[in-house]
Symmetry: C3
Subunit: 287 residues, 3 copies
């Protein structure tokens, strides 16, 4: 960054991080029967991923990792948008560099929390998602949406190319469609989003709760430890050259055979009974 | 792996590798007119990729590489499943670590044989493919299937996350669909498999033989050496950064111009005659 | 390359690079209202990417990078083919190694020019594209085509596996479809090309000008500097492991906030007025 620009931002002073306290909760969280639902609940801000919103989101995504009662996280929203992306007000020169750093540092942390979280993160997308909001959808382990949803990365329209949304989107959407989104800012419909890999499925509005619940129940019928290890290995292998990935996978498969829940699963299948998971990555000889 | 778990497995002793001899062939192999068809032919085991089955598959995939009469390998199946994946019976604590290692070491070798094989491997998938069976389909150079086929990676249901199937699937299927398959274990229909990249085409049952033959004839009309080099280069470049891949490709293209079959192809095209391939990667000045 | 083969090619002598001068222009170029349209205009050669054609293409793709009036490059064609690929006549032993090197060295340079060009390159594909012609389509930032178009990489039919086309295609098309194209040489229809990621959209012939113009206008409504930085970052991040990409993206986003056009965009949005871009990557405190 240019030295003078930095100085200007830093001298601004009054726009420092201490101002960014949330006065009221911007999210709602429920945690029942294994499912933590984090709802972006600030329709009046269009669920903007402001610093306070990112902090809340990060907190809810990052807690309970050691709690075996947590089995799935669902990301939901209230209001006419899933999320409009970052808060442009925070990005002006009224705020100093510390603030600007925080916006995007938190955004990375939210992404990493989704990736590193031991349980799957499922997006229930019932309204449009733009810029960093679209990034949030793309980074979910699985996302489903309703037919009305639109998805776009129009940041360049307001001078901020959607570079970080592009990181998430490029990793699930067809490259030429990704580039069209990023360079033109034009939206995808729900069906286009599905056809090009941004969401897993388009569900009627009256069916999306059932669909998300079906996904959650499918995940929760398995051992938490097995899902945790499997998700972690997926993100480890997916960036590797294929043979390297297979060699690591070979060891991953061998190692899982010494886990209590793996042997419980196999024995239960062979004996045609329901497995009794301990849900922990405990070795075979543990109680 | 936990030390005690290892000890338990190793002390088990009686479940060692010597037990895993196939008493009768689990595959059928035909080799006519350039096409070696390897048929998984153990419907009573649901074409389970047991150690004996993997050994047979590996043998048939790995032989005849120097035989110019071998031009394409087709993977076919008998019975109501293409393959149900690995054999859970082999994965219990009745078998020692040596056995567990062998299951997955062979599986990697089968994958590498498909990748490294000098001729294309074409999957003719006429029945469901699950777990490592689905991995086998995903790793084919080209696979086609019939409309009845289902594809799933339900390993986590029985305590074994489909980590190695995920390596193959993540490299051809949309990421969000891959994660849905791995985390929920829910199946794809044939059309979903096609739309998301797991198979090239869905053919009516009465058409699949013709479709696979069309693919095989298209391959066999070309020089074996050119296909061999091209396939090898594809797997080399596909994991590289784009500019590095283009630079290597540049040299690959230049080098092929000094091959006898490349110049035979060019000259035949320019002279509007049928090329007379030698099918070997011989240099231009060879007889 | 085999030593003797090299000698033969080098001794051929008469087929050296000096022969490859274009006597007349093979392309037409217009440059109006921000859009440079490069038209492959040699229908009699089927828009073959001969050395002279590649040189022209490279020149037109590589100039005006510092000219702020250049906002988008459109690749268009005249005649019944978008491009038939490289010129087989140049690849015979009548030409020496220097010529062979030049064909593919230029091809890489054309690809790199598209990637490195500060403005988006949009393919307007109104006719079939084969081999290196298909590579050119696949490498466009965005390509749209008409319903009549066919796409294929049939190089192996004439002894030259489409290895470099495969580099571009493998980076936008489903892997199993890529391998089918490369190994069989069989074509994709326009709709198959779209469904599998090779083009962004299929437009009726009477609509393609409007569609391409819509894309161009969407790009040109933004700041040139923001698009330039965004495109450059996209190609930088897309080959990286996801977390590394996000960390770089974080800094990219922070850095853009100190640009004049980013702050112009944000302020204009907040004040509900039209942004007045300078189109240069100038820091905030510049005039």
């Amino acid at each position: 960054m240019n030295f003078f620009a930095k100085s200007i931002l830093q001298k601004a002073g009054y726009g420092n991080l201490h101002r960014f306290m949330s006065t009221k909760a911007l999210t709602k969280v429920t945690f029942n029967n294994g499912i933590k639902t984090i709802t972006l609940a600030s329709p009046e801000t269009r669920n903007t991923l402001s610093i306070p919103m990112e902090r809340e989101l990060l907190k809810h995504l990052s807690t309970d990792w050691e709690n075996n009662d947590l089995r799935v996280i669902v990301l939901d929203s209230e209001g006419p948008l899933f999320s409009a992306g970052h808060n442009l007000n925070e990005m002006t020169t009224k705020n100093n560099l510390e603030v600007h750093n925080e916006i995007f540092h938190l955004a990375s942390k939210v992404m990493f929390a989704i990736i590193d979280c031991p349980v799957p993160v499922v997006g229930k997308v019932k309204a449009g998602a733009f810029a960093a909001g679209c990034q949030l959808v793309a980074q979910c382990d699985i996302a489903v949406c309703t037919p009305n949803c639109k998805f776009a990365t129009p940041g360049a329209n307001v001078g901020i190319f959607c570079s970080t949304p592009g990181v998430a989107i490029a990793r699930c959407v067809h490259p030429m469609v990704t580039r069209h989104m990023l360079l033109t800012g034009l939206p995808l419909t729900a069906n286009e989003a599905k056809d090009n890999g941004l969401v897993f499925k388009v569900c009627k509005e009256e069916d999306i709760d059932k669909e998300v619940d079906h996904i959650c129940q499918s995940i929760m019928s398995k051992s938490r430890a097995i899902i945790m290890n499997g998700k972690r290995f997926y993100y480890r292998q997916v960036d590797l050259p294929i043979k390297e990935a297979f060699k690591l996978g070979e060891q991953e498969m061998i190692d899982t055979l010494s886990l209590r829940d793996t042997q419980e699963g196999i024995e239960s299948f062979l004996q045609k009974k329901k497995p009794n998971w301990c849900h922990r990555p405990d070795p075979l000889n543990s109680k």
